[in-house]
């Protein structure tokens, strides 16, 4: 590995921290870096408590910190899930939504927003129906013909089914609830406070950690199923662990942030173009790069206009041209 590349990797691993600190200062009320340090450490250092303005403390701990942590977690979780599913399905075109989780979640959210008012919040509707869609995919595709291809095909079909259900709900929705639904569907990070974040954050952290621990095994799982068995893997069991973990993690992300597109496809590919296909590098680097880029996209989404633009739009607007640029310049990394 060249010196320049090592430097780049080092920078990538540090990037979430830099982006994190930078983004904390950003917003309608400017907080300089000097105040930021004091405020962040004030719960730990008793003597600083008096020196910190309570307004700044509320802004940082009540508004910006949860949003930033959510951004970092969702960015890492979606990117790592995407990379893991690409390995298990032996297909670089797979993304974290391929098994119908996004259309299931969208339908669940639409039920909540359009039909049931606020009886149950869209977060729970999205989580429940996202999992239900993947469960349905696995149920339909199981049996003797179980294979990555049959699972993918079933995923496409179940997605189409839930999209049709979503259209059905949208057709009968009022313009007001339609707008709320569209806003949710485009993905944004600012909709939830601490009380609704704790459980999804914990799920994303635990699931992402599990996938990171399996990163070498994902190399072997990316070979053909028969090859994996010949090398001594219980292929179906390991595939199931990865698929269920990635699903849970993605569902947790979607439930609090809506559908943020393309991260799980773009980030792992960017990383492979830099470090090759060994998942021991691809997964951790996808985590840090996904976390940094999503938070940067969110910074743009909340500071470019007087109102908030859904961050999902920015991940696509920033990510896709970058992706195309690198794709045309990179060595062959998949068949």
């Amino acid at each position: 590995m060249t010196k320049a590349k090592r430097l780049l990797l080092f920078g990538l691993f540090l990037s979430p921290l830099v982006v994190f600190l930078f983004s904390l200062t950003l917003g309608p009320s400017h907080i300089p870096l000097s105040d930021l340090g004091k405020t962040l450490l004030s719960p730990l250092v008793k003597s600083w408590e008096g020196a910190v303005s309570p307004v700044q403390r509320d802004i940082i701990f009540g508004i910006r910190l949860p949003r930033l942590l959510l951004g970092l977690a969702v960015g890492a979780a979606l990117s790592v899930s995407g990379a893991s599913l690409q390995a298990v399905f032996k297909n670089p075109l797979v993304n974290e939504y391929i098994l119908g989780i996004s259309s299931g979640a969208a339908f669940g959210a639409s039920l909540s927003i359009v039909v049931l008012g606020q009886v149950f919040p869209p977060q729970i509707g999205a989580f429940g129906f996202g999992l239900a869609a993947v469960g349905l995919v696995l149920l339909v595709s199981r049996g003797p013909r179980f294979s990555p291809v049959s699972v993918l095909l079933t995923g496409v079909i179940i997605s189409a089914f839930f999209s049709a259900l979503l259209s059905f709900v949208e057709f009968f929705a009022s313009p007001y609830s339609l707008q709320a639904l569209f806003y949710w569907l485009m993905g944004n990070l600012g909709s939830a406070g601490w009380d609704r974040l704790v459980v999804p954050l914990a799920v994303m952290a635990a699931g992402t950690a599990l996938l990171l621990l399996m990163s070498w095994r994902l190399n072997v799982l990316s070979l053909s199923d028969e090859d994996g068995r010949a090398l001594g893997l219980n292929v179906k069991r390991d595939q199931m662990i990865v698929v269920l973990t990635a699903t849970l993690v993605t569902a947790a992300a979607v439930s609090v942030a809506g559908i943020i597109g393309w991260l799980g496809l773009i980030i792992p590919h960017l990383v492979r173009m830099i470090v090759g296909v060994d998942n021991r590098r691809v997964l951790p680097l996808s985590a840090v790069l996904g976390a940094s880029l999503l938070v940067l996209a969110d910074d743009a989404a909340r500071s470019l206009a007087a109102f908030e633009i859904p961050v999902g739009i920015f991940t696509s607007l920033i990510g896709l041209p970058l992706f195309i640029l690198l794709l045309t310049k990179s060595a062959k990394i998949w068949r």
């Binding site: 297909n91 399996m214 990163s215 053909s224 060994d278 062959k332 998949w334």
Partner: protein
């Protein structure tokens, strides 16, 4: 370590394989030959535990294959597929390292010791190029060597190779068969191969199993069973066996 099968039956629509007895001995090459569709690869994959048999018993190094977990089986028997089907472009070393899978836990990753084993395997098969090369850049001869190196990294006593010489030029063909022979004679491995090239089988195998339409037509050392009559029965075309300088050649 050896592989044996008794009363093996494998069935899929339109095809049935029956092998009453099969034995592959230590420190020797056992070749399975026969026309396309005879069931050579099927037999190989049943013996390797990759395909489920309908009836019969298979013993791998003395243990019934069904009693072994995937990892236990892979530590005793290594299967070398005809072509590797990786979707991602791994480096040669990372690819060979996957041979260590059966020794690593769910959350494990190869240690420096595993890397040494992989490098040693690459050296043994005579792969002469840098091991950080991507596998998609290799020629088919080199790919075959890398696949064999991956199987060696499994450190199994039994090696099962599916048509290791198909699509290779005469030089690589010879190299692969001589490698198989060294593995049997130097390392005492049980080597089972399917082959299309009868000359290679006659020259290198201690035992040849002739298959046709899912049935065993002949089974034994080449010197005992090889005859023009047998070849005509198996392949349905006349063939001649010519003695030249103590070696036998088959002419179509």
């Amino acid at each position: 370590m050896s592989v044996s099968a008794r009363n093996l039956r494998y069935a899929r629509p339109g095809f049935e394989l029956r092998v009453p007895t099969f034995d592959a001995a230590d420190a020797a090459i056992t070749a399975i030959v026969g026309p396309n569709g005879a069931g050579k690869t099927t037999l190989l994959k049943c013996l390797s535990g990759l395909w489920q048999t309908a009836e019969g018993t298979i013993h791998v190094a003395g243990t019934e294959i069904g009693r072994l977990t995937d990892a236990e089986r892979a530590r005793r028997l290594a299967f070398v597929p005809q072509e590797h089907a990786a979707a991602f472009n791994f480096s040669v070393l990372d690819f060979v390292l996957m041979g260590r899978t059966a020794y690593l836990p769910l959350f494990g990753a190869p240690s420096p010791a595993d890397r040494a084993i992989a490098a040693e395997a690459l050296a043994y098969v005579g792969f002469g190029r840098p091991s950080d090369r991507p596998v998609f850049d290799l020629s088919s001869g080199e790919r075959r060597l890398v696949l064999i190196a991956r199987a060696l990294a499994q450190q199994a006593g039994i090696l099962v190779l599916d048509e290791p010489t198909t699509f290779l030029d005469p030089r690589h063909e010879t190299e692969v068969m001589e490698l198989a022979r060294r593995l049997a004679e130097e390392q005492g491995k049980t080597v089972v191969v399917t082959l299309h090239n009868l000359d290679l089988a006659v020259r290198h195998a201690g035992r040849i199993v002739f298959l046709k339409e899912g049935r065993v037509i002949a089974d034994g050392p080449p010197s005992d069973i090889l005859s023009e009559d047998l070849l005509r029965r198996v392949y349905d075309i006349p063939m001649q066996i010519i003695d030249h300088g103590g070696r036998r050649f088959i002419v179509k």
